[in-house]
């Protein structure tokens, strides 16, 4: 099963389990979503629960807030996550803060999900990795799966969460990675990372499609005799501090790889946290490998995003310590 099918299965099972779960967004009904994540849902659940909306992210997210406050569990699809900014006011001031503003009397148990990230020649408005913006917003969970299995388990956990979740799906691996996905109630808890690969010299923290670049880079490093441990964070806010520290205790070297841009990106936060609290665990500098601080380009996107050479370079750097 690929990631699209796993997400579709998660939505279907959750909608069967709980009739408060509704799906809304542009083209999610008859079209089944432009990537077919919602394919067939309208046939089973009807247009009251699978809602083709007018074209406005602000509207989609705004009405989802109202639905969630009233008692539904909306899953709002943003057709491409690059279009989410029209809804930014709603996300920051409402999705995230209704609970605080109402002193807990109202809540917004909702999921905002959509395809993110680069690698499909999508250009500047179909390729972005905006996780940084959301991680700066208290009240939100931020999630990004890297495998079909995790996609299913994390989406189910997100729908059941009483707090709102930004659910980012790396579209470049929507269909590229296939694996067995457990039927039924398979849940991956929010806030827990996954050990992708054990190693003893360097801890490489990453998520999303970058997991596969990291695995490639690790092969090259291992040819030089360096053993790389890879962690897929899966949830970026709050990130799995324990898993990272446990690994660092062993390796004492940290490289963080992400598709989000470097300045103030998630790696900056992880790096700052580790050096503030656990400088004793580090032999040398924490290295970041991230997309450059430019808009996402259509031309030469593969040189814009982190690649094997750049990850290897960072590993080589920390291995000098």
């Amino acid at each position: 099963m690929n990631m699209v099918q796993a997400l579709n299965q998660a939505l279907r099972e959750e909608m069967r389990r709980d009739e408060r779960v509704v799906v809304l967004g542009e083209d999610v009904g008859r079209r089944g979503g432009v990537f077919l994540v919602t394919e067939g849902l309208i046939d089973e659940f009807g247009p009251d629960r699978v809602i083709d909306t007018p074209l406005t992210e602000m509207g989609i997210v705004g009405v989802a807030v109202g639905m969630a406050m009233y008692g539904l569990r909306p899953v709002a699809e943003i057709q491409f996550i690059d279009f989410v900014y029209e809804a930014f006011d709603q996300i920051v001031n409402n999705v995230a803060w209704v609970r605080f503003r109402s002193a807990g009397m109202y809540k917004t148990p909702m999921v905002i999900r959509g395809p993110c990230c680069g690698g499909i020649r999508g250009g500047m408005h179909h390729s972005q990795s905006p996780e940084t913006y959301f991680m700066h917003t208290p009240g939100l969970y931020v999630v990004m799966p890297s495998t079909p299995k995790d996609a299913k388990g994390l989406l189910k956990a997100s729908i059941r969460s009483d707090d709102p979740v930004i659910f980012l799906e790396p579209k470049v691996i929507y269909r590229r990675i296939r694996e067995e996905v457990p039927e039924g109630d398979y849940i991956v808890p929010l806030g827990k990372g996954r050990l992708v690969k054990e190693g003893s010299d360097v801890t490489l923290v990453t998520w999303g499609a970058m997991v596969y670049q990291a695995l490639e880079a690790a092969k090259h490093a291992e040819k030089r005799g360096w053993s790389i441990e890879i962690i897929d964070l899966r949830t970026l806010l709050p990130w799995d501090k324990d898993l990272v520290l446990e690994s660092l205790e062993k390796t004492n070297r940290l490289v963080i790889v992400h598709e989000a841009r470097r300045t103030l990106g998630p790696a900056a936060e992880i790096s700052a946290y580790v050096s503030e609290n656990h400088i004793d665990m580090l032999r040398g500098p924490v290295m970041r490998v991230a997309s450059y601080d430019t808009p996402f380009p259509l031309a030469h996107e593969k040189l814009y995003m982190p690649n094997v050479a750049r990850i290897y370079r960072a590993i080589r750097e920390v291995m000098q310590w």
């Binding site: 542009e26 083209d27 009904g29 008859r30 079209r31 089944g32 432009v34 083709d52 909306t53 007018p54 074209l55 406005t56 602000m58 509207g59 690059d82 279009f83 900014y85 029209e86 020649r121 999508g122 250009g123 500047m124 408005h125 179909h126 090259h220 470097r262 300045t263 450059y292 601080d293 430019t294 808009p295 380009p297 259509l298 031309a299 030469h300 593969k302 040189l303 814009y304 690649n307 094997v308 050479a309 750049r310 290897y312 370079r313 080589r316």
Partner: protein, 396 residues
Amino acid sequence: MEKGVTFHRFPFAPAPRDVREEYQRLLDEALGFKRVLDEDGEVVDEQLHPKLSPDELLELYTLMVRARVIDAWLLRLQRMGKVALHAPNKGQEATAVGVAKAMKPEDWLFPSYRELGAYIARGMSEEEILDRALNTKDDPLKGSDFAIYGNRKYNIVPAPVPVGNQIPHAVGAAMAAKILGDKIVTVTFFGDGSTSRGDFHAGLNFAGVFKSPVVFVIQNNQYAISVPVTRQTAAPTLAVKALAYGVPGKRIDGNDILVVYSVAKEAVERARNGGGPTLIETVTYRMGPHTTADDPSRYRNEEEVKAFERLDPLRRFKLYLDKQGVLTLREAEEIEKAWDSKVEEIIRRVLEKPGLPRDVFFHNVYSRMPWHLEEEYKEFEEQFEVAEELGLQLEE
């Protein structure tokens, strides 16, 4: 000064009679439907006929042909894997060409991503379109995004792909022109889907309040990807939305180049002369998919598309020109063939050109590169040495 507190007329009083009469007339235009040519190229409205010379008529036809030819080639090039993505224009040529020809060169155009005819009508060559689509070294937008075209040379601002973002930009540019005393007009194109967005609301509202010299063109091609216009709004037409902003809205046949030209010309000149904004809903039909990534068979059937072939803007105009003795059907076909081979030749040449330099995206982020980007640029350069060391062929 009146005594006591004066209120604006809305709070307590009904709108005065003259406003109601004016709105009755505006309502007729916004709910109606105007065309000069019927389906078979017969003139049905002499009054709206723009009365162009045979040469001018021929030019309109040629521009529509050129738009259709380059559109078909871009589709083919996308299927060959040469173009990242294309948003087909087929069926919407009359609106793009008609509106653009109603503008002056100094007017500014804020298009969406489906207006090849407008770019060509304002002077963009097929070679430039291909350089753009194929991201050659001569791509004027330097590989920034797909499906968009623009060049300051022709006062065409490249579109933001998030739909409708350009609507308030067109209003702002029009406000600026007015402030600076320039007698220019701005025109923006967008689709039926964009009318649901905040940008549309803000743009129309500002234009109404500031009486800006702007013309809004909604290409109502019936679908926002799969969502039909009836699910986009409960209003009976899109043109009628303008009225709530104090802006006239006109609904016309977007597949009839003569009515498009006439109504656009009137709106552009009205704006130029201080009359304020106009919204034009051009009713048309997207004959192809939304983009090359779309599969319309999931949401509409072939019979529907077939039915709209009779309304094809080129077909109707061709029949009209034939009846007028401007151009026989055979001559029309020859023009099509000639442009097709001309474009094929240009493609052969453009495909030979080298691509953009690999560090292209570090440029045009700021007017001058700040230190943090300079540092990143150094790391960027180093990756090629690392790749060589590892014996890696880096994907670009």
